[in-house]
């Protein structure tokens, strides 16, 4: 039998943003025994002693006092560095474009933090993600948040049954607009706070400056697919496939885009036009697969997929291989599929899981 809310201890991961604030409020209103915990994962203290985590934590304090719940902080800087940031740098070094948010959910929020909460005797952790968890016959399903524009299951694709069994997403059934309205109605200190964007540890800083602090850049040539030199690049890691800005190639005709990276020759391949044929591919291979259901698919099946956050679902055919990786065949050619990013599969509203894009398949017959 399920515990009554008042006997159920829920630890809310509070970031100092409006979503996690409303998460705590909703749970409190439902009668749960709620505790707010702020995670400090990154030290960005500058010379003047200022750190953005301080302001966020002060917002957590204000909101928790408004709601009437205790609050604490926990430091996962070491775990974050070892599990998320190291991966982030390794991926860039290998010429891929990593997704630290997926890794942060898998290793920090739903592992280090979940373990911390469980050690404290919590029944569940809750976060302000736009997603839903549903238990059906002892099996936990990850469902899209009902606000399709905000759905965050893309970032949660690497979670396991065990992780989902202890997780609540109380605002997953609310549209973002309603979350804001609820925060305003309750006059929460974070009601009007701007949503954070970008990668948390980089914040508002220039991405290139940030990365150059940690990885040596190797400048090289920009070439067309035919080998015509079009200029210099500052280091392949600074560029993402399909990117237009920052190439500095002028001249007549359509704008220039990043088509591919040739790591061996340290050449950035560029081409003209948003729809340049070199940007399109017919399939991909994904590794490090996580299937959320305990029944892993073994045979070929059809579903929809996202290759980046907030993308419209695309029709695909998935072909599981014996080593656990999958081949994915697109119904229509896809633009700018980026190795290192996540591919996430959906069956209607159910997020089935996902993996890391390892290889782009330009022509399916060469798969």
């Amino acid at each position: 039998m399920k515990k009554r809310p008042e006997d159920t201890k829920v630890v809310v991961g509070m970031s100092g943003g409006v979503d996690s604030s409303v998460t705590a409020l909703v749970l409190k209103e439902q009668g749960y025994d709620v505790i707010g915990i702020f995670m400090k994962n990154w030290d960005d203290t500058d010379e003047s002693g200022f750190c953005t985590a301080t302001e966020d934590y002060e917002d957590v304090i204000r909101v928790c006092n408004q709601i009437g719940i205790p609050y604490y902080a926990v430091n996962f800087e070491k775990q974050y560095w070892d599990k998320v940031f190291t991966y982030f740098l390794e991926e860039y070094k290998a010429g891929r474009t990593p997704n630290p948010d997926v890794m942060c959910n898998k290793e920090i929020k739903f592992k280090a933090f979940l373990n911390h909460a469980m050690a404290l005797g919590a029944d569940y952790v809750a976060t302000g993600h736009y997603a839903r968890v549903e238990e059906v016959d002892g099996e936990f399903k990850l469902l899209r948040g009902i606000d399709n524009n905000k759905d965050q299951t893309y970032f949660l694709n690497a979670l396991s049954q065990q992780q989902l069994s202890k997780t609540m997403f109380p605002i997953g059934h609310m549209p973002k607009k309603e979350v804001r309205e609820k925060a305003l109605a309750a006059d929460l200190a974070t009601a009007k706070k701007k949503d954070s964007t970008g990668i948390c540890f980089i914040g508002e800083r220039n991405f290139k400056d940030f990365l150059s602090e940690f990885l040596p850049a190797q400048p090289g040539e920009m070439q067309t697919l035919d080998g015509e030199v079009k200029g210099k690049h500052d280091g392949l890691m600074y560029y993402t496939l399909g990117q237009r800005q920052g190439l500095g190639i002028g001249g007549a005709g359509e704008p220039w885009f990043v088509i591919d990276k040739d790591l061996e020759r340290n050449v950035l391949l560029v081409g003209q036009g948003f729809h340049h044929k070199g940007l399109y591919s017919e399939g991909l291979e994904a590794i490090k697969m996580n299937w959320i259901s305990s029944n892993h698919p073994t045979g070929e099946f059809r579903c929809t997929a996202k290759f980046r956050y907030r993308q419209e679902d695309q029709g695909v055919t998935v072909i599981p291989k014996s080593d656990g990786s999958v081949l994915v065949k697109f119904d229509e050619p896809e633009r700018a599929i980026t190795p290192g990013q996540a591919v996430v599969f959906y069956d209607g509203d159910v997020c089935m899981g996902g993996g890391t894009i390892d290889r782009v398949i330009k022509k399916w017959e060469n798969a």
Binding site: F38, P70, Y71, A73, N75, N115, A119, Q162, Q163
Partner: protein, 387 residues
């Protein structure tokens, strides 16, 4: 049990008798002691009497006590005030690696201003060796500042020995006795120190009030400028009620010093025995033969102190560890790091400070020791949920 407060080294509840002594100075005698009229005179009389009482309790003279806004200001006044006022004699200062931040960060500020600071190490018990002070002394040393009793582990420093070896040196000797006050005898006329910082809220007095004792002849450059209060050492209208409260709190805490000592040492034994009987893996930090009796610092190997403190708080037991950063998470204690260095990280990261106070009862201590042991055992035995 409703709630058990074991964090008296952070701050202590005010004694009702102290509040009673203070209240008239908020209502009837609200005057400004500098005013020449009868309302001001009443306030002035209260401040003078409180200062006189404190001087007698501390075995010194009233004109050697400068009232401050607390221990932090007293430390800053002593260190910045003395150093910047006596630069001509030299720019070298000696302190330790285990000082309260009010001392440590004041010394860091002096480094910014061109002074040189030697931070003396401590042994594993948290003690500074007088020989280390002696060998750090230079001709241009002008100030030695070493705390009386440590606020995290309670270790009492050899203040008398250090003071005596400085006798023939130009350097003046300051000690932060904020945490020691109430537990150790403070006979200022016999103690070989030149400046002593004290604070009221650690001894069941009000927050926001402290004092700096300065031996006759010591001159300080003021930190605050304005009116001529505190003989021009510290401008600002006196916090009359708090000064009265400080005096009362000092009187009360000294009256019961030996009784408290016995009681707190007994509490420590209850903790020790309970942890031992329940087979808890623990180790006590600090000098067990020479420590402030109200501070008991314990490491529980295998435990993350952030989890332990939250679990204790959920059980309504208030304790603490090191200091929190502005984003709420705990910084490893600089005191324990100085004691154990790199090889003792486990001990540093699993240390909790329990500090006792006058309102604690035997029942509370028995109950708390058992609860703490149960929580520690649970955390030590627990496997991570996701491995």
């Amino acid at each position: 049990m409703e709630s058990i407060y074991l964090d008296h080294a952070a701050t202590s509840p005010i004694d009702p008798r102290v509040v009673d002594a203070m209240l008239p100075y908020y209502y009837e005698h609200f005057g400004n002691p500098s005013s020449i009229h009868h309302i001001g005179r009443a306030a002035r009389q209260a401040v003078d009497e409180a200062r006189q009482t404190m001087a007698e309790l501390l075995h010194t003279k009233a004109n050697q006590l400068t009232i401050t806004s607390g221990g932090t200001e007293a430390d800053n006044m002593a260190i910045l005030g003395y150093a910047t006022g006596h630069e001509a004699k030299g720019k070298h200062i000696i302190t330790t690696m285990i000082e309260h931040h009010a001392v440590g960060h004041a010394c860091k500020e002096l480094e910014q201003r061109g002074f040189e600071v030697t931070y003396l190490p401590v042994d594993e018990a948290g003690k500074v060796h007088p020989e280390a002070v002696e060998s750090a002394l230079r001709e241009d040393t002008i100030l030695v500042t070493i705390m009386y009793g440590n606020n995290e582990v309670g270790t009492i420093q050899p203040i008398v020995e250090i003071g005596e070896l400085l006798h023939d040196h130009q350097a003046v000797f300051h000690t932060d006795a904020v945490q020691a006050c109430g537990s150790v005898e403070l006979q200022l006329d016999e103690l070989p120190v030149d400046m002593v910082s004290l604070s009221a809220h650690k001894i069941n007095g009000p927050k926001g009030i402290g004092l700096l004792y300065t031996k006759k002849g010591i001159t300080l450059k003021p930190l605050l400028f304005g009116g001529e209060q505190e003989r021009k050492r510290r401008a600002g209208t006196e916090n009359v009620a708090a000064i009265v409260g400080f005096s009362k709190a000092l009187e009360l805490t000294l009256e019961t010093a030996s009784e408290k000592r016995e009681r707190y040492l007994r509490y420590s034994r209850v903790f020790f025995d309970t942890f031992t009987n329940m087979n808890i893996n623990f180790v006590i930090n600090g000098d067990q033969n020479d420590r402030l009796p109200h501070i008991l610092n314990v490491s529980f190997p295998g435990i993350q102190v952030e989890a332990l403190l939250v679990a204790l708080d959920m059980a309504k037991i208030a304790a603490s560890s090191g200091s929190a950063c502005t984003a709420g998470s705990l910084e490893p204690s600089h005191v324990l790091q100085a004691m154990y260095r790199e090889k003792g990280q486990e001990r540093v990261n699993s240390a909790v400070r329990f500090s006792f106070g006058i309102t604690n009862t035997d029942e509370e201590i028995d109950y708390a020791a058992n609860e703490i042991a149960k929580i520690v055992k649970r955390l030590q035995d627990q496997q991570a949920f996701i491995s």
